[in-house]
């Protein structure tokens, strides 16, 4: 292999390190990137053994007898050698040899394994994934000590060459789903994959992208439990979020604490509350607007009087008033999400108390509308993964409620439900096990049974999975 071509290709790299050794009458060139490799490792595992070598010199003998690196191989394809070099490997060229020797001396600094900030649990494991695919695989492997735990790796992204691993438990996961996912990953054509969300777009079966059909989790215990249920996990190098497929709506309602902390009864109550919160978050502002505009008789008379007295002098119609409240809330939420943590509390106080109170006192907004908006806003966070979706649906329903009334809301709900029940993710209906009803899976749907019952359910979970039901 031509050392000069290689040198020419990477000569502009400021962190390129190159050492030429003259051994047994042949030149040996060692290349590595200082920012990706450990100099100590290169010295100890590559350079020193080469200098101390007494064997006849060839690429194969280097791999077989000389170099200490645990991961060491020869490669004749120049492009592949370049890819490996960019991935942090050390490349050794031996004069007049066709093959180059690739030695893994990569040391890249990663964030430590820590509790993920977005999915904390009161009790239970606190480990979270980080940006290193190997660490993430380790976190899964140490929980799934079975030979059936498989991880197939692929490289995605023309310029980023990002490693993607498809993990599953053979015999538990559907072969058809695994094959389908790997085929989809293989067909990804993109310049760069910087996060798992880039891959999720290609795996998402919902082409409207309104509903999320790919699970995303930061905790290895949660992903391990999904794998035990027969799902498939996709780990992307550089991302602390691991994807799981197939994904159903009810997974959003479930929380790790349901299993670690709560009893079946309290866990079930928690899930019911989350669902009610979701319904309140999406529909309450719309129903309020519809009642105020079209069906005020439904409101209890005392409450109606309160509403009427509080909206007197408000310059907006109920519809516009509610839209203003909702948009204000969404702006506050966006600002809060991007603001430094230390300023977040101040913003909450300014937004929730000062702004809300001032708007009511100034006669711009009515107190009931602010209260309804706030209640709905809190409800949005009961299922944090879908906050933006619910916020979008809330706005749509407010418009429908304000223009068509309660029948419009009913039709809107029916349309959304009709759409949602029609979505299938790799053969698994999105609303299963509610619709279609899957009796075995209902043990851990909205109402949760005891862990003993759930263990009996393992393997039977997602009984539609793999049945290739497009019914």
């Amino acid at each position: 292999m031509d050392t000069n071509s290689f040198l020419q290709k990477f000569s502009q790299f400021f962190d390129l390190k190159h050492r030429t050794l003259s051994l047994n009458g042949k030149n040996v060139d060692v290349f590595f990137l200082d920012t990706m490799c450990s100099s100590d490792k290169v010295t100890q595992f590559v350079v020193r053994p080469l200098i101390e070598m007494k064997e006849p010199l060839s690429a194969e003998s280097l791999v077989e007898k000389i170099i200490f690196g645990a991961d060491c191989k020869t490669e004749s394809d120049f492009d592949k050698v370049c890819d490996e070099f960019l991935d942090g490997k050390t490349i050794v060229f031996v004069e007049k040899e066709n093959d180059a020797v690739i030695v893994d001396t990569k040391t890249i600094e990663y964030r430590a394994v820590a509790e993920p900030p977005t999915s904390r649990s009161t009790k239970g494991p606190r480990e979270g994934f980080n940006e290193n695919i190997k660490t993430n695989l380790t976190l899964l492997r140490k929980r799934l000590k079975t030979e059936n735990f498989k991880a197939d790796s692929f490289t995605v992204g023309d310029k980023t060459n990002t490693m993607v691993a498809v993990c599953y438990i053979k015999g538990t996961a559907s072969d058809k789903i695994v094959k389908s996912i790997t085929e989809k990953i293989k067909t990804i054509k993109t310049d760069g994959v910087l996060d798992s969300s880039f891959v999720a777009v290609y795996l998402d079966a919902d082409k409207t992208t309104l509903f999320k059909l790919v699970g995303s989790f930061e905790k290895p215990d949660v992903v391990a439990s999904k794998l035990l249920e027969g799902k498939v996990a996709v780990i992307v190098d550089g991302s602390p979020i691991v994807l799981t497929l197939p994904y159903t709506f009810l997974e959003d309602v479930q929380s790790p604490d349901d299993y670690y902390y709560y009893t079946p009864y309290t866990a079930s109550l928690g899930r019911v509350l989350r669902l009610i919160s979701m319904i309140i978050a999406v529909l309450l502002p719309a129903v309020y607007v519809a009642l105020q505009l079209f069906h005020y008789q439904i409101l209890p008379s005392k409450f109606l009087i309160t509403v009427l007295s509080s909206v007197q002098g408000i310059p907006f119609t109920p519809l516009v008033e509610m839209i203003v409240v909702i948009i204000l809330f969404d702006i506050l939420r966006e600002a809060n999400a991007r603001m430094p943590q230390i300023a977040g509390l101040s913003l909450s106080i300014v937004g929730a108390i000062i702004l809300g109170d001032a708007a009511v006192k100034a006669g711009l907004l009515g107190a009931p509308a602010v209260m309804i908006g706030a209640m709905s806003g809190i409800g949005l966070y009961s299922m944090p993964d879908n906050t933006m979706l619910f916020s979008f649906l809330r706005l749509c329903f407010v418009l429908i409620g304000g223009l068509v009334g309660i029948l419009g809301i009913l039709l809107g709900v029916m349309f959304v439900v009709s759409y949602v029940v029609s979505i299938d993710d790799f053969g698994t209906p999105y609303l299963s096990p509610l619709s279609p009803s899957v009796k075995k899976d209902k043990k851990d749907a909205i109402l949760r049974k005891s862990l003993i019952d759930l263990n009996q359910k393992r393997n039977a979970d997602l009984s539609l999975r793999g049945k290739e039901t497009k019914q």
Binding site: F294, V404, S418
Partner: protein, 377 residues
């Protein structure tokens, strides 16, 4: 269109279809024929419906995977089969139109909404169209989600009004003999036979270990719910029952009697309205399939045209015709009821014989999918 469904899903649909739409103007009109005995008229109609229902089930069980249209073609000739399919399509279209026109009445008289027909029907057609395009599978899945809410709403409306009922309003039974009750049954038969859509499910239902029991239970639940509301209605309004339109809203009014909670009962009514949309969706699907068969359409484009034809009829008919009056004149008081009775009762009763004849003609060969072979959902 994916039309393969499970038996349990179909059972839920039967309950919804039987009760949906029967709480609008039907109890009042029935009371005008049979007075306080109108619940007997209703029970009679359900009894006849039950016989037809069992006959349809029997035919469905033994159809050997053949569609009802195929059975008709094999037994009564293709032209007759096509005529029957066209008649069924018209029958379902009329039922949809009548039900939706009554719903607009309910909306405009009770929920204080001045409802323009086109403004009402277009969004309804959007929901229905989406479900019809996705097939029966989608409709039954939506029904699974709404079923509990609808059932709870109806039960609450009935139970919260029970304390204001006076059962003596039902006495004396059959004071004017059996004729008024029988007249009520004969004249109002058009609004019954809700399970005719099962004809279009032949070969598409996966069944469990028991075939008849779940279906029969669901039929009985639907019938009991409907008769319960009729009795509650009669016991609340007594002699005034014939003048009380939109029965459900009238009954629900008693839910909040003596309170200052506002018309919270309307929330139940609104939830119950979803059963009418589901029923209309199902009938739309059945009408579209019937038209597909009548005109031998197999392409997607053809399905869309069939749906558009039914939708256009439903959209335009109430704008240019007095649909309620027409249904009353033709199918309640007129001779049209005998045509619909043929479709509603004669064909279902004969259906097991048709299936046996078709199977015999087919040489007992079960080359087409058996009911039980349809994949479970």
């Amino acid at each position: 269109m994916n039309n393969c469904v499970k038996q349990t899903q179909l059972c839920l649909l039967i309950v919804i279809v039987m009760s949906g739409g029967k709480y609008l103007s039907l109890p009042g009109i029935l009371a005008s024929f049979a007075g306080r005995d109108s619940w007997i008229s209703m029970s009679l109609l359900f009894a006849v419906d039950f016989l037809c229902f069992v006959a349809i089930l029997f035919a469905m069980k033994n159809c050997g995977g053949k569609s009802f249209y195929e059975i008709l073609c094999m037994t009564v000739s293709t032209p007759v089969a096509k005529v029957l399919m066209t008649l069924y399509a018209l029958f379902f279209t009329l039922r949809i139109t009548g039900g939706l026109v009554d719903t607009v009445d309910l909306m405009s008289t009770s929920l204080s909404v001045v409802t323009n027909w086109a403004a009402f029907i277009l969004p309804v057609l959007l929901v229905i169209g989406y479900n019809v395009a996705k097939g029966l599978k989608n409709t039954v899945r939506v029904t699974q989600i709404f079923f509990v809410f609808i059932l709870i709403s109806v039960l609450l409306i009935i139970l919260l009004s029970v304390k204001y009922t006076d059962l003596t309003e039902l006495n004396p039974f059959l004071s004017e003999g059996f004729k008024p009750a029988l007249d009520g049954s004969v004249n109002m038969s058009f609004w019954f036979s809700d399970c005719l859509f099962l004809f279009f499910c032949f070969g598409n239902v996966s069944v469990g270990k028991r075939f008849f029991t779940p279906f029969i239970v669901s039929f009985l639940v639907g019938a009991v719910l409907t008769v319960m509301l009729e009795i509650t209605f009669l016991c609340l309004f007594g002699e005034l029952a014939p003048y009380a339109q939109n029965a459900l809203v009238k009954v629900s009014g008693f839910n909040i009697a003596g309170t200052s909670y506002g018309r919270l009962d309307w929330i139940f009514v609104i939830i119950w309205l979803s059963s009418i949309i589901l029923k209309s969706t199902l009938y739309f699907w059945a009408a579209t399939v019937a038209l597909d068969k009548a005109f031998s359409i197999n392409s997607n484009k053809g399905h869309v045209i069939c749906f558009a034809a039914v939708a256009l009829l439903v959209l335009v008919a109430p704008l240019i015709l007095p649909v309620q009056q027409m249904i009353s004149d033709l199918f309640i008081l007129g001779a049209g009821k005998y045509v619909t009775m043929f479709l509603q009762y004669a064909v279902p009763i004969l259906s097991p014989l048709l299936v046996f004849a078709a199977n015999k003609k087919h040489g007992g060969e079960k080359s087409i999918r058996r009911v039980s072979e349809v994949k479970e959902q």
